[in-house]
Symmetry: C2
Subunit: 455 residues, 2 copies
Amino acid sequence: MTVDKALAFAQSHRSQWLDQLRELVRIPTVSTASEHAADMARGAKWIADHLGKLGFSTEIAPTSGHPVVLAEWVGAGKSAPTLLVYGHYDVQPPDPVEEWQSPPFEPTIRGENLFARGASDMKGQLVAHLSAVEAMQSAGPLPVNIRYLVEGEEEIGSPNMQSFIEGNRDRLRCDVVLNLDSMILRPDLPSIVYGLRGLAYFELRVYGPSHDLHSGQFGGAIHNPAQALCELLAGMHDNDGRVTLPGFYDKVRALEPEEREALAQLPTKDEEVQNLTGAPRMWGEKGYTLVERIGARPTLEVNGLLSGFTGEGSKTVLPSKAMAKISMRLVPDQTPEEVHAQLLEYLREMVPPTVRCEVSTLAGGSAAIVRRNTAEMRAAVRALTETFGRSPVFTREGGSVHVVSVMQALLGRESILMGFGLPDDNLHAPNEKLHLPNFYRGIECYIRFAYALVS
Amino acid sequence: MTVDKALAFAQSHRSQWLDQLRELVRIPTVSTASEHAADMARGAKWIADHLGKLGFSTEIAPTSGHPVVLAEWVGAGKSAPTLLVYGHYDVQPPDPVEEWQSPPFEPTIRGENLFARGASDMKGQLVAHLSAVEAMQSAGPLPVNIRYLVEGEEEIGSPNMQSFIEGNRDRLRCDVVLNLDSMILRPDLPSIVYGLRGLAYFELRVYGPSHDLHSGQFGGAIHNPAQALCELLAGMHDNDGRVTLPGFYDKVRALEPEEREALAQLPTKDEEVQNLTGAPRMWGEKGYTLVERIGARPTLEVNGLLSGFTGEGSKTVLPSKAMAKISMRLVPDQTPEEVHAQLLEYLREMVPPTVRCEVSTLAGGSAAIVRRNTAEMRAAVRALTETFGRSPVFTREGGSVHVVSVMQALLGRESILMGFGLPDDNLHAPNEKLHLPNFYRGIECYIRFAYALVS
């Protein structure tokens, strides 16, 4: 059978797939840092060139930010379904760089893992799918038409995806969306993400005096902006771990008893997450399990703090300003716009007249939920079951993949979220890694999924 | 008269004094930054060389930190009083450098001011006294014996002063201590500081997970250390602006009605400090005036905050740790050791089991109060009155000069605090400056003070 031929090819060419991945993770495609603009262009070109060699017609399409790689092969004809594959070639910044055991952009194998920024999130998933295509081509023509949309701004909240998809609806027409930016629960436990949280990301700046002051000369007369910022941030949670922004929970869709029961079956437990993270103890919103708190409840996090003197030793300064990066993970039916308004309302109520406050929006995207009973979902279940030897469980994921809700709205297609990252891959953290056995299983699973769509 | 000759010489050599000051502020003697160790040595040598040329015997005495410059001239004989002049040659870091209008170590004159780090705090005061000595020498032998102690660690809390003075009591014997590290209220309002606050400076670190996490993947399950730090810091003040560390006010000496009345006569008002600082509004401990809150009441300030991602754009990180620099200004009879214990007790009560906490002590020193009815104080009043044409007022200062309490304890001498900085000199802040007319008046005042001690 064709599928077996493709699988055999995939298995016998593993070192080639790994070499390709190594090449791609060496390019430091950090989308948030302007000094990496040239690397971003190199990253986009690498993917376009690679798809060109596989016989796809490709385009590096500009946006007002980083370019999008578009590619298509429609040789399967009009009767075959068209698969739209979504991925991103940008990565998170490697900071704090000093905590990496090997340089973040020098892929290094230790044990069964490849360590590099972007290895799991998500160049590994992207190269796995490119490898699956090459393996299928070795066995005959692809069973489905395939389009690729690979963006360069996912890690900064996909600010241009909405307008880009809106302006390119025709070129993105498809029957099934496969989103590679996802993970499974364990190497021996396949899973499909059917829910994703949204994101609303802000920078909050508190201003006091017009310049830094001597803390002895003026301490006691001036409201310290760093203290005021801490007071504002501390007030954003109550003692039950609930977010206090006015109206924050009004639009949160309640969990049905049936869904709570299903989520309770998942193996993720406090102890496991404690081991994984090294946190002294678990924490969170009262009345919800860990799985619910991560996947189905909204949160507010402080992502960064900066004020005054932070160098070696001491400086007796009363700082003139203080900054926090904060972000909320959203669930249906919250929207980033409403949460922004709630934040402003909170600040309107809470900012004392002794300081001044500014907010900028850095990123935003809505949450998404995908139906579990569609034909393409059954194909995904079959591919995972055949690859892993057991049927997958359904999970809700705490992270955000903005494009899923955008594609749902603009292309009328829900996404199959199928990627092979693992919870301990250190995403967005030092020592990000990709579990290589999972990488190879991923290639096989993508092959099976394509054939399953037409059988 | 000799004093008039000396004053005339001081007036006719102003450009020379200014050139010497320019030379000294060009040396970036930032004591807290290890990369400036060589500059610190250069700074000490500049002062020793200068005093050597003035006929002083000098020594650059090592400490376990930065060296101390010692110098003496005892040609006035045993019947004349001996003046011990205290100063420091180190300066605060220039951060944030980008907010300086001219480079911090390139002295630049704009209007009546010389802008440079250390110009007012306190190389300007030191050069003023050196100039006064040179002017007096031009008129005849100095009327008093003079010793100098110029340290290099005042801006980091004088960690070695106690043991240094203890080990050099004999060489520091004196009748009068003149401490140059001080300021007056206005160019037309001379003042003498008779009270100084103490300092206790700490770094507080909160640890959560063992590494940075993805805020989507784990947000809702983990107590964010940046949030926990904010909660701890926000809890350190109550709604009346009082510090909540247990026992913090127990040892605070209450203000007598008579002293409150005298302080109420000082011209410093809310409006003036608001203009000076640009703060939207004044703030502080309920029940006390601005002058009392700055000079006679203890405070707690956040001097720095750092956690997570603070660069351009957004990074959805749940940080593994968060750091704050905090410091308390102390008044009699608080001690840094007791305040340290109070901080630890507060943390013992307040740190939740979801995070871990560490504290290091970075600096500490007690407060000091000086009697206003001694012979040397009368000499200071006379020198100021003759120089400024009006008698000085007595003030309590919010800053800390650790050495004052140390000298009181070890040498049995109270200090005359006489320096010519101004409240708007931007001490410890960008665009520090020295008011040049005040610099020249300072030289004349130091001359008059020396002669007043023997007349």
